[in-house]
């Protein structure tokens, strides 16, 4: 059959893959911008396009903005300033009135799905209802990673090939209609042939496929991700979006034939001429405009305080008189924001640093006995090295409740009458006395702290799955140099330098990977921290570093560690190598860390409404620890909720501010990087990582139904790769309601301490990085390190920004303030 050129299947498949949700299977869950497909457009235009085409809600509720305004959480002065800057001073009163009083209006009907409803309209057939159940069952059974006991019986050669084999050799079938069966069995059948039967008008093929696939974006997105990243399944499957579409078209033809007999025809005849196509550019919409202004006003109300706060930083460079007792590197993660504040509070002379938690060491980790390798670096990076573990004593316990025997007839019979009663006791215990179980995820179980790691490379030619085992000395030195220079730690080394990775612990949490370190691809950062410390202690590395201007005294030793952000516990690795003196010092520091952890837990508890935050510190901490072990706790911790800031600069210049655990803090000293090379390295990672986290929270919050995963309470695990509601639903992407409850949807503000021209040069180095800033997906503000002048990046250039906030309140009794409220707090000066 000849097809006109107006339809290009490859192009449409590519487009579909681009717009579908790009969420990996649960085990590899990494935060990303939910609307990444629209990133080429400026933020407001992009979200409007997304909303009008796909029916997403892209701003918060109008009522919510108004409520914030009336509670003084949106500054009227800032609102006016925003209106004037976007409209004009003349229109101020009109727009202010609209913002405050225009009635709730419905958004326009989304363009997606307009073709699909024609089936119902003209043939009285709910095609989704007919097709989805079988389609979901088939893909889910095909992709299943280990829930089903009896797997898809045909060896994986592709979805359609598998179904063909099954349908040909079975007495039972999914596809009954003769025509559909013929189309399926004919190896020559193309998708275009099927679309010809269904749609009949080549101009609308692409739109039809969009409608079809966006009726179940979860499954389609998953298939598209697996097509491009087959490695994210442990049990490999061959699958393509094309196969999925082929199968779905066949099922549709089958359903129509079955239900309507010969009494139906292609949609072409019924498509109204004026029906808009998908992805047409949006036109001006007043209701969108109103939301946009509110959104900006809400954001700038917060940004304004932060900018003012940063300007109030120390005027002069204070050269520390003594060497600090210790230095500690933490992950840039917003959860490190508060723990660092407490470490500094209880060890005022110590200094802390923030950097991406893989510590500039991209590699795969191969645990002993593990059948696979785990990537422990940012998701877009493809490592060339592997670190292998040996002498591990770590063993994972079994839990018979997950055993397949409980599902059998005789097994089930015997087990229910014996172990069934044991389950009752176990359940009672886990409700009243939560404790560690094999079902839980513990950050400390990622690696055996007493095992050995192959950090240094013995022989570069010896490869493991094509990867070099360990790093060579020069590679180690280069990585270490990059790490230390980018955070500005090049002199005045303390006797102990801690390198702290982080991870999280939880139970009954399908999204557990999203709680671990994002810079380690959703894994605990323990291996990276330990490897980084070992490299830092390597004498050969130190020689090279010395040659490159970083003199690390012999007395200085690096210690790797792990901070469990859920339980607020820390462990430290390889303490045996410490010198006698340092061992004593470490013991002292340990007390600082312990106290800091207690207080951090207490601060976090103000957000856990089921804990009384006013109790004694230790007591609160004990209750916080239990959350990680409690089956019934859907919020073991708040993860990145409330994140709104990323501050790139020296810690001394923001240490005076209370930022309420809302900031990603990246240490950076402009003085050792006048050209901005390290800055580029930082921003290249910060924009997609922090921006990605931030926007995923943003969109999951404003539209938890379509861009988020909805409440996690009814979630059902599908094939170990995703979750759905109940039995027959589509896979849910984005974050569950329970992760974003307390989040305010603000775009992230990135402040950089450097000169504007250097920053501009840095962000323009790479187009994909620049896109984030130029299109306002993240807001960028430059703080001039000398004048403290603030410049905001707008319309691709820096403009001077004068904060409206005049003073920042300083708090004396921070502890008292913290336990008194569970709400977001403004910026304070720490007295």
């Amino acid at each position: 059959m000849a097809h006109p050129v107006s339809f290009d299947l490859q192009h449409t498949l590519h487009e579909l893959g681009h717009y579908l949700p790009a969420q990996a299977p649960l085990k590899d869950f990494v935060h990303h911008n939910t609307l990444h497909a629209f990133q080429r457009l400026p933020f407001h235009k992009a979200v409007q396009t997304a909303s009008e085409n796909f029916g997403y809600t892209v701003y918060w509720n109008l009522e919510k903005y108004r409520e914030l305004y009336h509670r003084n959480k949106i500054n009227p002065e800032i609102l006016d300033r925003i209106i004037i800057s976007h409209k004009s001073a003349d229109e101020l009163s009109r727009w202010r009135h609209l913002l405050l009083h225009s009635p709730l209006a419905e958004f326009s009907e989304p363009k997606i799905g307009q073709l699909r409803i024609l089936w119902k309209k003209h043939f009285n057939l709910n095609l989704d209802k007919e097709v989805h159940q079988n389609l979901f069952r088939i893909i889910s059974a095909y992709l299943d990673q280990g829930i089903s006991i009896w797997n898809f019986p045909v060896e994986s050669k592709g979805l359609v090939a598998g179904i063909r084999t099954l349908e040909k050799n079975s007495f039972s079938s999914f596809i009954k209609s003769k025509r559909a069966r013929q189309l399926l069995f004919n190896n020559q059948t193309k998708i275009e042939d099927l679309l010809d039967v269904l749609v009949g008008n080549t101009d609308r093929y692409a739109q039809y496929l969009f409608d079809q696939q966006f009726a179940h974006p979860g499954w389609s997105g998953m298939v598209s991700v697996l097509e491009n990243h087959p490695e994210s399944l442990l049990d490999k499957r061959v699958i393509t979006l094309k196969d999925l579409i082929f199968l779905e078209c066949i099922l549709e033809i089958d359903a129509l034939d079955r239900r309507r007999g010969s009494n139906w025809s292609a949609l072409a005849a019924y498509i109204p001429d004026h029906l808009p196509g998908i992805l047409d550019a949006p036109i001006y919409s007043e209701i969108i405009e109103i939301h946009k202004l509110w959104q900006e006003a809400m954001e700038w109300t917060y940004y304004d305080q932060v900018i003012k706060g940063l300007q109030l930083g120390p005027e002069k460079e204070e050269k520390p008189t003594t060497t600090p007792p210790f230095q500690a590197l933490f992950c840039i993660d917003d959860r490190s924001c508060s723990i660092r504040r407490y470490v500094e509070r209880f060890a005022p002379n110590a200094s802390t640093f923030g950097t991406a938690g893989f510590f500039n060491l991209p590699f795969y980790f191969q645990p002993e006995h593990g059948k696979f390798m785990t990537k422990v670096c940012p998701a877009p990076v493809t490592p060339l090295h592997v670190i292998k573990e040996s002498e591990s004593k770590l063993r994972h316990q079994k839990d018979a409740h997950f055993s397949k025997h409980t599902k059998g007839i005789f097994g089930g019979w015997a087990i229910s009458q014996t172990m069934g009663f044991w389950s009752a006791l176990k359940l009672a215990k886990s409700i009243f006395l939560p404790s560690e179980t094999p079902a839980m995820v513990s950050s400390f179980h990622h690696m055996d702290p007493n095992g050995k790691l192959t950090v240094s490379c013995k022989n570069p030619d010896h490869k493991h799955h094509g990867l070099q085992i360990g790093f060579t000395v020069s590679e180690m030195a280069a990585a270490m140099e990059g790490l230390l220079k980018s955070i500005g730690l090049v002199a005045d080394f303390a006797p102990l330098v801690y390198i702290m990775g982080h991870g999280a612990s939880s139970v009954n949490n399908t999204h557990y990977a999203g709680y671990d370190c994002g810079a380690c691809s959703g894994r605990s950062g323990s291996v990276n921290a330990r490897v980084a410390a070992q490299i830092g202690n390597n004498p050969e590395v130190r020689i090279i570093l010395g040659e490159r201007g970083i003199q690390i005294p012999h007395t200085t030793q690096f210690v790797g560690g792990l901070h469990d952000t859920t339980r607020d516990e820390m462990v430290f690795f390889d303490l045996k190598v410490l010198s006698g003196v340092n061992r004593v010092l470490h013991e002292q520091n340990l007390q600082v860390f312990e106290t800091a952890l207690d207080y951090n837990a207490k601060e976090r508890s103000r957000r856990f409404q089921t804990i009384n935050s006013k109790q004694a510190v230790k007591k609160v901490h004990d209750q916080v620890k239990l959350r990680a072990l409690s089956l019934f706790e859907p919020r073991p911790e708040w993860n990145h909720a409330t994140n709104a800031l990323c501050i790139v600069g020296r810690r001394e210049n923001n240490r005076h501010l209370f930022l309420d655990k809302r900031a990603f803090l990246n240490s950076y000293d402009y003085r050792i990087d006048p050209e901005g090379t390290h800055l580029f390295g930082i921003l290249k990672a910060v924009a997609p990582v922090c921006g990605g986290i931030n926007l995923e929270y943003y969109f999951s919050k404003v539209d938890n139904q379509r861009l988020g995963a909805g409440s996690k309470l009814p979630h059902n695990v599908i094939g170990l790769i995703g979750v759905a509601n109940g039995m027959g639903g589509d896979l849910r992407t984005g974050l569950p309601q329970q992760m974003v409850d307390i989040h305010d949807p603000l775009r992230i503000l990135i402040t950089v301490e450097h000169f504007p021209e250097v920053i501009l040069k840095a962000i323009q180095t790479s187009q994909s990085t620049y896109e984030w800033f130029a299109n306002d997906w993240v807001k960028l503000v430059c703080i001039n390190p000398e004048s403290k002048q603030a410049l905001v990046f707008r319309d691709e250039r820096f403009e001077v920004y004068e904060p409206i906030t005049q003073t920042i309140r300083s708090v004396h009794d921070l502890d008292g303030l913290l336990e008194s409220t569970g709400e977001n707090l403004p910026v304070f000066l720490i007295a």
């Binding site: 379509r706 509601n725 039995m727």
Partner: protein, 625 residues
């Protein structure tokens, strides 16, 4: 006395807690959980204590005639409680699991917008559970049984702003109601068998049972089969099985307590409860055993191919319940009780930890991966293997079974009456009904050969109206009125049978009229406010803007369907007692229209008030979620 007080308290305490939970303000989260947890803790304590006391005093079954709702001399509607070892085990297991789940949900449900609704429904469920378990006669059991149906509907549709939970809730409710036909007919037949509302304790009198069964062997078997249908529906046995996995739409703890453990074992309970009645009917025992056996054999491969954790647990549980049916049929009461308790605990726990399966199994794979393990089925001939696999993946078409054989035909019949509209209904209904009344008052003019067919004819007419209500797509008010009209036809039909007190008809119809008028008012005001979003063609989700109206309509609909909040409920039973033993058709028509009337009303409620909201000024869910 102590027995009466304690056993009554097992029902009264949950009732009290339920009422208090309704009155508490929505904002006080801790209030609900404290009331629920306080009640259930107390209940668990007294249940445990009482069982100990009861066992020490000889484990003698106790019957407590509780509350007489109606008595006219030859008919008595009595709430009756009964306590024996079956009740003891069910009550204790139920209380213990509810105790754990209440505590669990207190934290799990934190910040969920339906917190209050959840605890209300949970307490309502527990009340229904206790009442059913302690029921001493069919009437009381049916009371609890109906309450279970509604609480189940409310829990499945807990996420009422999404499409699938609502659709599945209606589906499960419908299948439950189909099963209820079994209970209604069993009640009707047993009236005629015993000539009274028999108390379960009388079943223990072997001579009495044997005496009645000898004379009416057919009726005995009929009752047993009806009970089996009711039991199979509640316990998701064939051909009803497919509802159970579809019911897993609520928050995990509610799925665990309801479908994992307690509710799904009620079929087994009903069989245990009536065991002395049918134990000497070999055919009944064979049928029950076979149902269980076939279910187990079919549910097992279905469980094996499921790729989602909750459906897998559901089918595994169905298979075990199938085995319990076999055990009951074999008369192994103690074994059944142990099996029930163990299965309930096991599945509850498995469901509660089901989200952990990702982390656990992925880790397990990571360390112990074996590519393609050979399963049992791989040894079968390919064609057999593939066929079995495909069949199991399709759940043996069980889900289509009811659509194709029950709901589809009913809809087709209903559509034949599409000429009815709210405008012309009164013009058609009133004259026809007036004609019926005319005939009723002038029966002497009706030929003797025709007269016996009149009741069934009217019953049939009523049933047709209900079918129309069930299939109505455009006019919600019409559907409501049709269900009401059906009650009038039933009353008329039964009146033909014998001259009885009008008061009885009044009891029956009074509830229908009051509830119907309220329901009509609710629909009317909704129509006035939302003229563009007022039909039954899709789900509208009006509860988002009209939560109070939705509640009013729900209560009214319950009244119209004869739910035990209006006198209609007593009336239904009362009227059924006037249907003669040989009027199988009339009984069937009435039972069917009673059941479908309920489904039609819940359908109106669901389509107008539940589902994704039609207005998009706030986020709404995609249809596939």
């Amino acid at each position: 006395m102590i027995h009466q007080l304690t056993i009554s308290s097992f029902v009264i305490l949950p009732l009290l807690a339920f009422v208090i939970s309704l009155l508490l303000p929505k904002s006080k989260e801790s209030g609900f959980s404290m009331v629920a947890f306080g009640m259930i803790s107390l209940q668990l304590l007294t249940v445990t204590g009482y069982i100990g006391y009861w066992m020490l005093s000889g484990s003698i079954p106790i019957d407590i005639p509780e509350l007489e709702l109606y008595n006219n001399g030859d008919y008595r509607f009595l709430l009756d409680l009964y306590f024996d070892s079956i009740a003891a085990v069910y009550l204790w297991v139920g209380s213990f699991i509810t105790f754990l789940i209440t505590r669990y949900s207190r934290f799990y449900m934190h910040l969920e917008s339906g917190y209050k609704r959840f605890f209300n429904t949970l307490l309502f469920f527990y009340l229904a559970y206790s009442l059913t378990v302690l029921a001493g006669n069919f009437e009381t059991l049916f009371f609890g049984w109906e309450m279970l149906g509604i609480s189940s509907f409310l829990l499945i549709a807990f996420y009422r702003d999404r499409y699938l939970p609502v659709r599945n809730a209606v589906k499960v409710f419908s299948i439950y109601r189909i099963g209820d036909i079994g209970i209604i007919l069993a009640m009707w037949a047993s009236h005629h068998l015993w000539h009274e509302n028999i108390a379960f304790i009388s079943f223990l009198d072997e001579k009495l049972v044997a005496h009645h069964l000898v004379a009416h062997e057919g009726t005995g078997l009929f009752i047993a089969v009806c009970l089996l249908v009711a039991a199979a529906a509640k316990s998701a046995q064939l051909p009803f099985s497919s509802w159970l996995p579809r019911a897993m739409e609520g928050p995990t703890p509610s799925s665990a307590i309801f479908y994992g453990s307690l509710s799904v074992h009620f079929g087994v309970f009903l069989l245990l409860r009536t065991y002395p009645f049918w134990e000497h009917q070999l055919i009944a025992r064979i049928l029950i055993g076979l149902t269980g056996l076939i279910t187990a054999l079919i549910a097992y491969p279905i469980a094996r191919v499921q790729s989602t954790i909750k459906t897998q647990i559901a089918y595994a549980s169905i298979a075990q319940i199938g085995i319990m049916f076999i055990e009951v049929a074999l008369g192994l009461e103690t074994l059944v009780l142990i099996h029930f308790a163990g299965n309930a605990f096991l599945r509850t726990y498995q469901l509660l930890v089901s989200p952990s399966v990702v982390a656990y199994m992925i880790r397990d794979k990571f360390y112990h991966f074996k590519p393609r393990e050979i399963t049992l089925e791989d040894t079968f001939p390919k064609k057999l293997e593939y066929s079995l696999y495909m069949l199991s993946l399709k759940e043996w078409n069980l889900d289509h079974f009811f659509n194709k054989w029950v709901f589809g035909p009913v809809k087709r019949v209903g559509r034949k009456l599409d000429f009815l509209t709210p405008r012309n209904l009164m013009f058609i209904f009133l004259p026809v009904y007036a004609f019926g009344l005319l005939l009723y008052f002038n029966q002497e003019y009706i030929p003797m050969e025709v007269l016996p067919y009149m009741p069934a004819l009217f019953g049939f007419l009523g049933m047709l109206l209900v079918f129309k209500a069930f299939s109505e797509r455009t006019y919600p008010r019409l559907a409501l009125m049709l269900v009401m009209a059906n009650h009038f036809w039933i009353a008329l039909a039964v009146s033909f049978n014998e001259r009885f007190d009008y008061a009885q008809t009044q009891i029956y119809l009074s509830g229908v009229i009051v509830a119907g008028v309220i329901g009509y008012w609710a629909l009317n005001s909704l129509r006035k406010n939302e003229p563009n979003h007022f039909d039954l063609n899709k789900y509208h989700g009006h509860v988002y803007e009209y939560p109070k109206l939705a509640l009013v309509f729900l209560i009214a609909a319950l009244g119209v369907m004869g739910f035990p909040i209006t006198p209609t409920f007593v009336g239904v039973d009362l009227l059924f007692s006037h249907i003669h033993e040989d009027q199988y058709f009339l009984a069937a028509f009435d039972a069917i229209s009673f059941v479908f009337g309920g489904i039609a009303l819940i359908r109106i409620y669901a389509r107008l008030f539940l589902g994704p909201h039609v207005k998009n000024y706030h986020p709404t869910a995609l249809k596939t979620s």
